[in-house]
């Protein structure tokens, strides 16, 4: 009996649907880690002390979510991986985060715009994930949702404050939005594993998320006297989700992973 179970598990590892089950939490973890890392680049450089702390708190929330998802992925991989090996020892083409989260901070306007566009997506995604039948994913999403609710609120306020602010702040917000908009398409294009995990009870209605996301984004932008940029209508071929990244992820990883790569397993 025991033998049989073990054998089945081994076979499953070669089953692509099991790979999907591993890839999915990795994707969620990578999104959170990379955005958290970007946000943490502001630590010590925020426009004022209070906002420096606010964004650092958000970075910590996201890195906390990433840890939970990495731990789960490591457990599913069952090959000796840990949260640390997954974060620090994978190569750039193994990262499954969306292109949006790896984009540089730019000015404060660009940072809050990136946060708003992504947190709003994450908010509606976690809302569904908290009810999925994978208990681990559901509980991480439920806990994360409270954090993301605040991230959405915080970034929305900044969008409104700066969009409906001075001429200069309005122009900067408009530029940020035009720049980042092209990366939002990817949020709603499903990768193989996002479709594949439905078999494991992780069913997400992506069409609904897209609808909710547009509605929220449109309403906040309109309060901020900004509007949705005209879409380029260009179908994105290279998905960050599938490991095709911009040069910005190389930069992040070369900095973020340098210590673990130079001194593997080092602790401090």
């Amino acid at each position: 009996m025991f033998q049989k179970t073990v054998k089945m598990k081994t076979n499953q590892r070669f089953d692509s649907s099991t790979n999907h089950l591993i890839a999915y939490p990795l994707h969620l973890a990578d999104n959170a880690l990379i955005l958290g890392h970007r946000d943490s680049e502001w630590t010590g450089h925020g426009p004022i002390l209070e906002q420096d702390i606010a964004l650092s708190n958000i970075a910590l929330d996201l890195i906390g979510q990433a840890r939970n998802f990495y731990q789960y992925a490591a457990k599913l991989k069952a090959d000796g991986s840990t949260e640390d090996t997954l974060a620090y020892l994978r190569d750039v083409n193994e990262f499954k985060n969306c292109l949006l989260v790896e984009q540089p901070n730019g000015d404060w306007g660009q940072t809050v715009t990136r946060q708003f566009l992504f947190s709003t997506y994450q908010y509606f995604l976690y809302q569904q994930l908290q009810h999925c039948s994978d208990k681990t994913i559901a509980s991480i999403a439920e806990k994360g949702l409270k954090e993301v609710t605040y991230h959405t609120r915080w970034s929305s306020e900044w969008i409104i404050r700066l969009g409906d602010g001075t001429d200069e702040s309005h122009t900067r917000m408009k530029n940020a939005l035009n720049h980042l908009w092209e990366f939002t398409d990817e949020l709603f294009i499903q990768s193989s594993y996002e479709t594949g995990v439905a078999k494991h009870g992780i069913r997400v209605d992506h069409a609904l998320i897209k609808e909710q996301w547009y509605e929220k984004v449109r309403s906040v932008l309109s309060e901020a006297t900004l509007s949705i940029p005209e879409s380029s209508q260009q179908k994105r071929e290279n998905l960050g989700k599938e490991g095709h990244h911009t040069e910005h992820l190389y930069e992040i990883l070369s900095e973020m992973q340098s210590l673990q790569r130079a001194l593997p397993g080092c602790e401090w």
């Binding site: 450089h45 004022i48 702390i53 000015d107 306020e157 404050r161 702040s169």
Partner: protein, 126 residues
């Protein structure tokens, strides 16, 4: 002889021409915002049934931002369940020069302390 009159201002008790928010751009990446956004006093209730207590101050452009900043600066280690903020300019302080006539007369009035009652152990925060 010409007498120079000057008024001393105490904490938070600012004159009108020095009050209020001045517009500043927080996008410039400098610490300038902190100098021009008004100061707010923050009060946190640590749990239901207790008073809001003064915990410190911070800068914010308006009340909404002040509450969010207070959440981020003062409640990140589970310190609170409720936040009040009030712009520092709205707080008027007693004059330290008045301390003698304000507070010292109470020093020898021990009978004002309700020390003649036995309080049950269950009664906390008295």
């Amino acid at each position: 002889m010409k007498m120079i009159l000057f008024r001393k201002y105490y904490y938070g008790d600012l004159p009108d021409n020095q009050k209020g928010a001045q517009h500043s751009s927080p996008t410039e990446g400098t610490q300038e915002g902190a100098g021009t956004w008004p100061l707010w006093e923050v009060f946190i209730r640590s749990k239901q049934g207790l008073d809001h207590k003064h915990v410190g101050s911070l800068h914010a452009a308006d009340a909404k931002m002040a509450i969010e900043n207070a959440r981020d600066v003062y409640t990140r280690r589970q310190e609170g369940v409720s936040i009040w903020v009030v712009e520092s300019k709205s707080i008027h302080a007693s004059n330290p020069d008045d301390a003698e006539n304000f507070f010292e007369p109470a020093n020898d009035k021990v009978y004002r302390h309700p020390t003649f009652y036995d309080l049950p152990d269950e009664l906390k925060h008295m």
